[in-house]
Symmetry: C2
Subunit: 378 residues, 2 copies
């Protein structure tokens, strides 16, 4: 029997995390007996007087939002991290009980004054404002003394526990590199240090110091495959959005540069920021179109932990390859989501739909938002 | 300022997984603005003619359940894993794209014929039947050629994506040790191999070959703390259920033996199985009482990957210390749950309530189920 990745169970390896995912494509036909989510029905107003993120409204901490017209950044009123100096936990009575102090800050980054928009419904110019704001926050927080990582993320949709549909993300900056980016950075570094593959000339861009970069090589490899076999969803001059070979979430996407090694947001040229905004727009429109719903996800930016002092000099941390993860839970429809529970919580992640099947589904989606298409409402 | 673990943010280390959790106890007072879950309202019948797990009913694959009177085990009609031989994935064209074949089997284990029961509502004798069935499945599947791990788990509650309230769990057996138990086993093994701590005489039981066992020592340490300071929820002669120092889920519990090192279910004496059933009953009743609701969770049993050939001879794998993880999502009420999203998905896990606070809350719960208490319905 010949192996068919769309029919035979197998296990794939994620070189970024060192973990595996179980793929069970033969299970795609099983009937759905699970929990369903409530459908999204509400049409949102452009301005909601009860929203703590709308311009001019009071926040839960009592402060009043300015009447911003583009993006707005403010410190979270209930931050998970507090600025230094904090008290240091005492050495515990037992080596198995280890605590270390943590400090930093939490920002909220509003994407747009309009309550009813999302990245998928925003103009590309407005998304470019968000990209520029991400860069400013990364530079500002990353230069504060003691900060070792700036984690930018967006959590979108009620099924991700996000209460407020007003388009916004968050930035948590702290004195440690958090577990997941730390693991990725370690694996990127190891990949750069491995002995050069015997005669393998991939033609991919190199990482710092002309060493191989895992993500440059991975993006290059995916770009070299024929469209219908591959995992690419959208691409442009600088960026590619693909369902990674080792994806866990049904329609998980990794968005990264393919034309050169870029460690962090502050290394982006104006044209690269513009094309990043464009590919984010195209990807999120496809997401919404997949199930004709505002697609829930968590998005996170992984990059160089903090900006380098002088980006013209190579430094430790430059092996980071700027990338965005989109982890959306929906799997079959606007109301059927994946849960990482049971075996996936106690054993290891598992999926039924293959990465290639997911990419093909997203490629088949239009780049005209379903709410803007002429079919809509007919 | 003196460090107060109930007020100051810190980061705790999990020696079982090598990962960290961010603890932000100062945030406990923030108002809840997030998504809420629908409350459980339905009263379930003892028998549901539409349930594919009730005795005598047809399953989705068409088979008819026997009229079982205690527990029932059958192969999942839509298994994620298939029995050997399966085709072997070809070596891919790129070293970053690695797939390996996976094979095995998936069983469903029904806990009780009654549709309306849960572990928290079952008699201890009936839970003992479940423990015995876990042991039988572990022995049966673990002795099949090629099987390298038997993962027993229960996924309970609609908010965990579990559609059918009929009390049941699953067992996935496969030709690889899945990622999470593999990491734990590696850390347990390393702990046993480290040079003996200088003069540290903990009085805890030892692991195989008289080497230190991380979980024996951890359980022993928790038992040595004064009740109101500690993390223990319930304990008996053989077992202790505690909120681990490094817990991620709000009311996460680790259930393990404290009196001796037990690698796997097949090593349990009759009295230990009885007292395991008893502590599971006491813990799950407290869970239900916490928010007066049928408490959702994923439970998983981690142990020796497969039974040893001869349990009287020390063998590789005996460093495993049998334990049960209970990961429940509820955090504030029957309708407010935790989501592992945003920073927790892109950075690292985070919690507000400390492990000690969670343990104190569970300790304050009664061991009489709220549906059986005289207050109920008044
Ligand atoms: Zn990453
Ligand atoms: Zn474990």
């Amino acid at each position: 029997m010949e192996f068919d990745p769309t029919a035979h169970p197998h296990r794939r390896y994620n070189p970024l995390t060192g973990e595996h995912v179980l793929v069970s494509p033969h299970r795609n036909k099983r009937p759905w007996l699970g929990q369903t989510e409530p459908p999204q029905t509400a049409t949102l107003p452009e301005y909601d007087p009860a929203c703590y993120l709308c311009p001019g409204n009071p926040r839960s901490g009592g402060q009043i939002n300015e009447k911003y017209t583009s993006t707005l950044v403010f410190e979270n009123d209930f931050p998970a991290l507090l600025p230094p100096p904090g008290p240091v936990p005492p050495v515990s009575g037992h080596p198995l009980l280890q605590a270390t102090p943590v400090e930093g800050g939490c920002d909220v980054l509003i994407f747009h004054p309009r309550h009813d928009l999302t990245l998928a419904r925003m103009a590309t110019d407005d998304i470019e404002n968000v990209v520029n704001e991400w860069m400013r926050v990364y530079l500002k927080r990353g230069r504060q003394p003691g900060i070792k990582y700036v984690q930018i993320f967006e959590n979108k949709g009620a099924m991700m526990g996000c209460s407020n549909p007003h388009p916004h993300g968050q930035v948590w900056s702290l004195n440690e590199v958090p577990a997941f980016p730390a693991t990725e950075l370690e694996n990127l570094k190891k990949y750069g240090q491995r002995p050069q593959a015997s005669g393998l000339v991939s033609g991919a861009p190199c990482g710092p110091g002309n060493k191989p970069c895992m993500l440059c090589e991975y993006a290059h490899h995916e770009m070299s495959l024929q469209g219908e076999e591959g995992r690419i969803v959208v691409q442009n001059e600088h960026w590619v959005a693909l369902v990674p070979y080792w994806a866990i979430w049904p329609f998980e996407v990794l968005l990264l540069s393919h034309h050169r090694h870029i460690p962090s947001l502050d290394h982006l040229e104006a044209q690269e920021r513009k094309s990043l905004a464009s590919i984010i727009s195209r990807l999120t429109i496809r997401y919404d179109n997949l199930f004709s719903t505002s697609f829930a996800y968590s998005m996170g930016i992984h990059q160089r932990p903090v900006p380098s002092q002088d980006s013209s000099i190579l430094a430790d941390g430059d092996e980071a390859h700027l990338h965005l993860h989109f982890n959306p839970p929906l799997v079959r429809s606007a109301t059927v989501r994946k849960f990482l529970v049971g075996f996936e919580m106690m054993g290891e992640p598992q999926r039924d739909l293959t990465a290639e099947q997911a990419a093909a589904r997203l490629r088949a989606c239009s780049e005209v938002h379903y709410l803007d298409s002429s079919d809509h409402g007919s």
